[in-house]
């Protein structure tokens, strides 16, 4: 029956029941700051998580076989035998010798020109790609196989030397998740305090509304709506700033050209998760406000 304008006017009138402007003082700004920090922490956590995952996906399935033999002929023979054995072995997807010239190139900065002279014995290297799954067991099996061929053959899973780094990164990721959780708690607490303050400073109005027969839910809705709006504005502000900062950092990371740092990129799915944070923040603020005011109202007659 009621027209849309009617309903809008009614909503406006309900809003007017509380005075205009902020009901909860500086809460908006506090929420903006909290949301800014939360989004940054979450982005760090998500970025690190993505980096760890891409790193382990890249590395877990790979291993290097070194042929540590000073005699070049023996070394080449041994490398060839190892290659055949590896290609025939279970769990090996591919095995390819690393070009000695490439190897020399890579060590030149450390060892100088002699590295290429052939006087310095460089090990031959074979890149091994394992079939997916249970890399540790496969590497162990290959180690036994190669050990049977010659003690000069050594296999080294790639993940092994990056393991401490991956561990560090994932620990940082969890730390970030913890920070996000603490921020959520702190935001809730700020809203509870703000709602309590708003309730106290409008005690007179609330009492009159009560005596006119307003229900607790009717009154709580006034506060919850206003605090929710403040939270919405604060969250949007905080999120916008955080997104700006994250994009900047992303550009700087890209500019380093480092593969490792480059991996710390936010995939689109992570952006979606970050986008949910302000929504969750507003929801949290609204619920906290409602709960607080209802509790406070419950103490009056």
């Amino acid at each position: 029956m009621a027209s849309r304008t009617d309903r809008r006017a009614a909503a406006a009138a309900r809003h007017r029941l509380l005075p205009g402007g902020r009901v909860a003082g500086p809460m908006l700004w506090i929420i903006a700051i909290m949301m800014f920090l939360t989004v940054l922490a979450a982005a760090a956590g998500l970025g690190l998580g993505a980096a760890v995952r891409s790193m382990s996906a890249d590395l877990a399935g790979r291993a290097s076989v070194q042929v540590v033999e000073a005699n070049p002929q023996l070394r080449d023979q041994l490398a060839a035998r190892a290659l055949t054995a590896l290609r025939g072995a279970d769990g090996v997807q591919a095995a390819a010798p690393v070009d000695p010239a490439l190897l020399a190139d890579q060590v030149r900065p450390w060892l100088g020109e002699e590295a290429t002279s052939g006087d310095l014995p460089l090990p031959a290297l074979i890149d091994v790609t394992l079939t997916p799954g249970d890399a540790d067991a496969k590497v162990a099996r290959l180690r036994r196989l190669l050990g049977g061929l010659s003690p000069a053959l050594r296999i080294e899973p790639h993940a092994a030397f990056l393991l401490p780094l991956a561990g560090l990164l994932s620990a940082l990721g969890w730390l970030a998740a913890g920070v996000v959780l603490l921020m959520a708690l702190a935001t809730g607490a700020v809203v509870v305090l703000a709602a309590r303050g708003a309730h106290d400073s409008h005690r007179g109005t609330i009492e009159v509304l009560h005596l006119m027969g307003a229900t607790d839910v009717q009154i709580a809705r006034l506060f919850q709506r206003r605090i929710g709006l403040d939270a919405m504005l604060g969250s949007a502000l905080g999120f916008a700033f955080a997104a700006f900062v994250i994009l900047l950092i992303g550009l700087r990371l890209g500019a380093t050209g480092s593969e490792l740092l480059g991996a710390v990129r936010l995939p689109p799915a992570s952006w979606a998760v970050l986008g949910l944070l302000p929504v969750a923040g507003v929801l949290l603020a609204t619920l906290a406000a409602r709960w607080t005011v209802l509790r406070a109202l419950g103490r009056a007659l």
Binding site: D6, A10, R14, E207, M212, G213, T215, L301
Partner: protein, 266 residues
């Protein structure tokens, strides 16, 4: 009924005797007790009792005055009546139901049936006179489109037609009081409780307001007015008087209490 009420307001409003016979008979059928106090006591904190052994019955449709010296407990008694306070002892029944043990969540339903003029007005400071008067209608969930007509009429009736957008702070004491009265009666409450409703207005306006109360009373509302103003009481014929003395209901003549009208006895 509601539309009719507002419709007849601006002219010689509710005073018209048209239809009063039917209404009167409706009221007399409704003469049952609408308010019952039995041995009610009220104690604030650890002080001695502010109200002691208060027992009375108000009939539906009656017009009652409550008098007594300052500090006798008039406001305290009215607070019990409009459910702002629970008694320390005794039984209070409103509309036939015990409200002392009423669960909190049922109070709003009862409060909406009672209009209150507070001694200190309690206008919402940030709302205009118009919005203050509209408050009970909005709390009751009336559609916004239906609010305007009665509020505008009510403003006109209390002589504030051109002050609708004024904030309470910019109104005189008497004007604030009239806003408070308009707010109390606009919802057509079944019981109207008014605490010193004419304390801040001149004799003319006091008479006008009493006329409003009488008109409301004729439509079936039970009126309870606390006042010091004895000439005012004399003005309303057929009204009953209760007197509080140091927290006890004094009844020196015995004729001032329930039943309110000789012809309306139970």
């Amino acid at each position: 009924m509601r539309a009719g009420l507002y419709g007849c307001l601006p002219t010689v409003p509710w005073l018209s005797l048209r239809g009063s016979r039917e209404r009167a008979s409706a009221i007399f059928q409704d003469m049952s007790a609408i308010v019952q106090f039995e041995n009610v006591g009220l104690r604030y904190g650890l002080d001695s009792e502010t109200l002691s052994d208060v027992s009375f019955t108000l009939a539906g449709g009656g017009f009652y005055f409550l008098t007594g010296a300052s500090g006798a407990g008039k406001t305290s008694l009215l607070k019990l009546l409009y459910l702002a306070q629970r008694p320390s002892r005794g039984v209070i029944r409103l509309f036939g139901e015990d409200v002392v043990t009423l669960p909190r969540k049922r109070l709003p339903g009862f409060r909406r049936r009672i209009g209150v003029v507070f001694q200190d007005f309690r206008l919402v400071p940030h709302l205009s006179a118009y919005d203050n008067i509209a408050l009970p209608l909005r709390v009751a969930g009336m559609e916004e489109g239906e609010v305007d007509a009665p509020v505008t009429e009510m403003l006109g009736w209390v002589g504030l037609g051109d002050r609708g957008q004024a904030r309470p702070a910019t109104l005189s004491g008497g004007e604030q009081q009239r806003v408070a009265i308009a707010r109390a009666v606009i919802g057509r409450p079944e019981i109207l409780v008014a605490d010193e409703p004419t304390g801040n207005v001149d004799a003319d306006m006091a008479r006008r307001l009493m006329t409003l109360f009488e008109a409301l009373n004729r439509l079936g509302t039970t009126i309870v007015v606390a006042t010091h103003d004895l000439p005012l009481i004399a003005q309303v014929s057929g009204a009953q008087m209760m007197r509080l003395d140091k927290g006890r209901l004094a009844d020196p003549t015995g004729s001032l209490r329930y039943p309110p009208r000789p012809q309306g006895g139970e």
